[in-house]
Amino acid sequence: MDDVLSTPGRVLVTKIGLDGHDRGSRIVAAFLRDAGMEVIYTPPWQSIDAVVALARQEDVDVIGLSTLATDHLIIPDLMDALQEAGLEDVKVVVGGIVPNPEHDMLHDAGVAAIFGPGAAREAIVDSVGQLAATAREAKFESLGG
């Protein structure tokens, strides 16, 4: 542990919108922890403003959004809000049910990765870990070691 770049990745695992099925987000939170990451876990039903405030106060590297019942449709609004808040370095990943025709819409909005049913644990951990490292470097590049 030499400096901020070598500390564990910080990931916000949360849900926006009105759906309360949080089993998936709990499972993902647990295995990100088991992969050595620091997971800020919230209950479902967060507002977009709340997620922006959480991401800012907790200085997270990655936001993981679980969406099972069309909540992914408001993710582009969240991406805009993050941009406005100056949090464009934070990576956003989505897990759950996103119909194939709507993947492009999320990618265009800036979502870094989408994991559907059956996604391997290793794939999620690897992707989130790499994105966290990239985000951390972008955030602190001005430190200059």
Binding site: D3, V4, P8, M37, A50, R56, Q57, D59, L143, G145
Partner: protein, 301 residues
């Protein structure tokens, strides 16, 4: 707020840049009041802090909370869930909450909590709340950092009160029995009051306050008691506590280095000593002295 958030990350990560920041912050005299909450897991610390923040916000006071959760001894990862109970304040610009992983540090807080508190203070927050990991017997460092230490207990935790006898009970400036609406609360109050009466030489009265964090009952009384304690805090007292805490941290770090050295370099010797302790030839203290000597450290005893 974004700047403070990043500064906390840098300090928490350590290294040369963090040290430069800590040196700069050290020049500033602390202005904020620091209130610590500790107690066994499930006592309701986070919910009580949430209610306390609500109380402070009604008075127009700005509040920052640093909430520590334990890290996994296996992976080093952590689930930081304290703020799940503080959701009502998340979009209030007068409230800042940061979740911290203990990152293997024992004692209830984090290794660099003093510097983190300094940084939050420098950012101008009026009150800084610290929440320890769920604690019982040995996590007493909160009293080195906080101007007032609130030990939260609740009924129905079985022998937790017993566990607190020789542990965090002793560091309490204020004792809270939370979940006072549950059966057994009066009993818990009675037990705690009885234990306080048995202590000698403490030199201060420790109030026992009942709260129901979910309804807010008792929170005002608790806030008043906290104010009574924090109004007594002086820069000198804070400096004494900070030095004592730093000395503890150095001793702990030294012990960890000795442990690493022993693990790396004196395995054969350690095997011998292990046998000697198990067979009753040496006691643990004697074996420790010999182990230290084998890596070139003369034990003071």
């Amino acid at each position: 707020m974004a700047a403070l958030s990043r500064v906390l990350s840098v300090i928490d990560g350590g290294g040369p840049v963090a040290q430069r920041l800590v040196r700069a912050l050290h020049q500033l005299e602390r202005q904020a009041v620091v209130v610590g909450f500790t107690g066994p897991p499930g006592a309701g610390k986070s919910t009580l802090i949430n209610a306390y923040i609500r109380h402070l916000r009604q008075l127009g006071t700005s509040v920052a909370a640093l909430a520590v959760d334990p890290s996994s001894p296996k992976s080093g990862g952590a689930i930081l869930g304290d703020r799940a109970r503080m959701g009502e304040h998340v979009t209030d610009s007068g409230v800042f909450v940061r979740s911290l992983s203990a990152r293997g540090h024992l004692g209830g807080l984090t290794l660099n909590i003093h510097a983190l508190v300094h940084a939050v203070d420098a950012a101008g927050w009026d009150v800084i709340i610290l929440e320890t990991v769920g604690a019982g017997q040995s996590e007493v460092e909160i009293c080195r950092v906080a101007d007032a230490s609130v030990v939260v207990n609740s009924p129905g935790l079985g022998d937790e009160v017993q566990a607190m006898k020789a542990g965090i009970l002793e560091i309490a400036d204020i004792l809270v029995v939370n979940k006072a609406d549950l059966p057994g609360a009066a009993n818990t109050v009675q037990q705690l009051t009885g234990m306080l009466a048995l202590r000698s030489g403490v030199g201060r009265d420790v109030p026992v306050i009942t709260t129901t964090a979910t309804s807010g009952d008792g929170v005002e009384a608790m806030a008043y008691a906290i104010g009574e304690v924090t109004s007594q805090a002086t820069p000198t007292g804070r400096a004494v506590r900070a030095r004592a805490h730093a000395a503890d941290l150095i001793a702990d770090a030294a012990a960890n280095q000795v442990r690493a050295l022993m693990g790396n370099t004196v395995n054969d010797r350690l095997d011998e000593l292990t046998q000697a302790v198990l067979s009753g030839e040496l006691d643990v203290t004697q074996a420790a002295e010999k182990a230290l000597r084998s890596i070139g450290i003369e034990s003071p005893t």
